[in-house]
């Protein structure tokens, strides 16, 4: 879709009424008063969302916090292939792979840390994942925390989301 440039015609000189300014001020006051009265009368139409109590429903394709998917048995679906870590432009994913104790699974992530302070929410990790183990569909932003350590999400936190 090409960007459309709209030329707005603007008068070169203000008319006398405009240059006196008073009438324009009254018009402006009218605009603000209209807003005021409308919002006074119908408070439910105010677009403000009262955040902690009400949360905006994010669009379906919103890229939010990561989560790791589980297999039917509860083990992480992740096979520690490092594709996400390779694709990540911010280098925020740290994986340590290991031999799984479950004989049906060969390789699994011993550690899977996402540094949310570094993450740029680009979604490349989700694109890269060959087993659909990582998703960004939690529909929510990174929670604020008071230390940097708390913002390094470990595998347990990511599996819970």
């Amino acid at each position: 879709m090409a960007i459309r440039v709209v030329k707005v015609a603007r008068p070169e000189k203000m008319s006398f009424g405009e240059s006196v300014y008073l009438l324009e001020i009254v018009k402006g006051l009218g605009v603000t008063m209209r807003h005021f009265l409308r919002n006074m009368a119908r408070q439910e139409n105010i677009p403000t969302i009262e955040y902690p109590e009400v949360r905006r429903v994010m669009p379906a394709r919103f890229r939010g916090c990561h989560r790791l998917m589980k297999r039917p048995g509860g083990a992480p679906r992740c096979v520690a292939c490092y594709m996400c870590a390779t694709a990540c432009p911010a280098k925020c994913i740290t994986i340590v792979a290991g031999e799984s104790p479950d004989p049906k699974i060969e390789k699994y992530p011993v550690r899977f840390d996402i540094d949310m302070l570094r993450c740029v929410f680009c979604g490349q990790c989700v694109e890269a994942c060959p087993v659909d183990a990582i998703r960004m569909d939690t529909g929510w932003y990174t929670m604020p925390e008071n230390t940097r350590e708390k913002l390094i999400y470990t595998i347990d936190m990511l599996l819970e989301k």
């Binding site: 402006g28 006051l29 605009v31 603000t32 807003h35 006074m40 105010i46 403000t48």
Partner: protein
Amino acid sequence: MSPLFDLAVAVARIAVFISFCLGLVVILTWVERKGAAYIQDRRGPNRARILGLTLGGIFHPLADAIKFLFKEDFIPDGAHRLFYQMAPMFALAPAIMTMAVIPFGPPVTIAGHQIPLQIADLNVGILYLFAISGMTVYGVVLAGWASNSKYPLLGGLRSSAQMLSYEVSMGLSVVGILMVFQSVQLSEIARGQGELLFGILPKWGVFVQPLGFILFLTALYAEANRTPFDLPEGESELVAGYHTEYGSFKFSMFMMAEYIHMVVGSAVLVTLFFGGWQFPYLADAGFAFPGGVSFAVPAWAVLSLRIGSFVVKTVFFCWVYVWVRWTIPRFRYDQVMRLGWKVMLPLALINIFVTGLVLLLIDKGI
């Protein structure tokens, strides 16, 4: 009557009027925030609650007050300690003092003693008003200089230039009123506006001096450092202007000064241009509408209608301050100066000249 009675009455008047003003200030801060919110399609303050009640955020001024009281009262390094501390007082004191000459109502007679509903009915009322309100600039300039910081200094300088410029127009814009009502005493001016113009229109200042009203209103906003003339604290350029370095209760004193200015400014505007305590077509005995229709009203009702009309008018103009603030953007500094000196001053002078001419013609009976 005894001097003790006079004293008691004086103290009572001061107490009542000051608490009226300060109460209005408290409510105004809430009105400003809530009004701004509704004008901008927001909800505004609605979080502070007492016993689970928010009542549209009406407790926020209380929360603010408590917050300001308990914040650390600091003095920045390098500030002039004495002047830094004096500045907020210099800002607040004149604002409160100007209240003294505002007539809240006609004089009442209690126990055979006539009591003016006015703290001090000075015969130089308007001169006093200008003298005292002219001192406000000291608080701002002092704050700007004593903070020893560049943004406050710039704010203070802007403020001094702006206040001086608009003081001139403000003074000249009311000269027309003084000429019409032939008094500088505010109680006299208020009483003078009880008459009718051409037999139908109340002889309010705004009707006899429409240009003067517009000039005065504009100058009033400039004097109170309110948008569109809030350059001394223009946050987009100067962080917070002259009170950048202030915190805690000292900051709240600046804020209070600003809001008291709004209240007193509105009261003066009402007194000069909107009939003060006059209720349209209400004489001492009762209503007397043009066309001969009249009916009597008891004296206490007349009094309360008059006081009520003053309060309502004042509150309305306080709201206009808020309304204007969220409607008109801030001027550029050169625009402020051009408006002050090249538009308002000539217009004020023309207004005086035309008023004088008209009065002369009326006097000559033409």
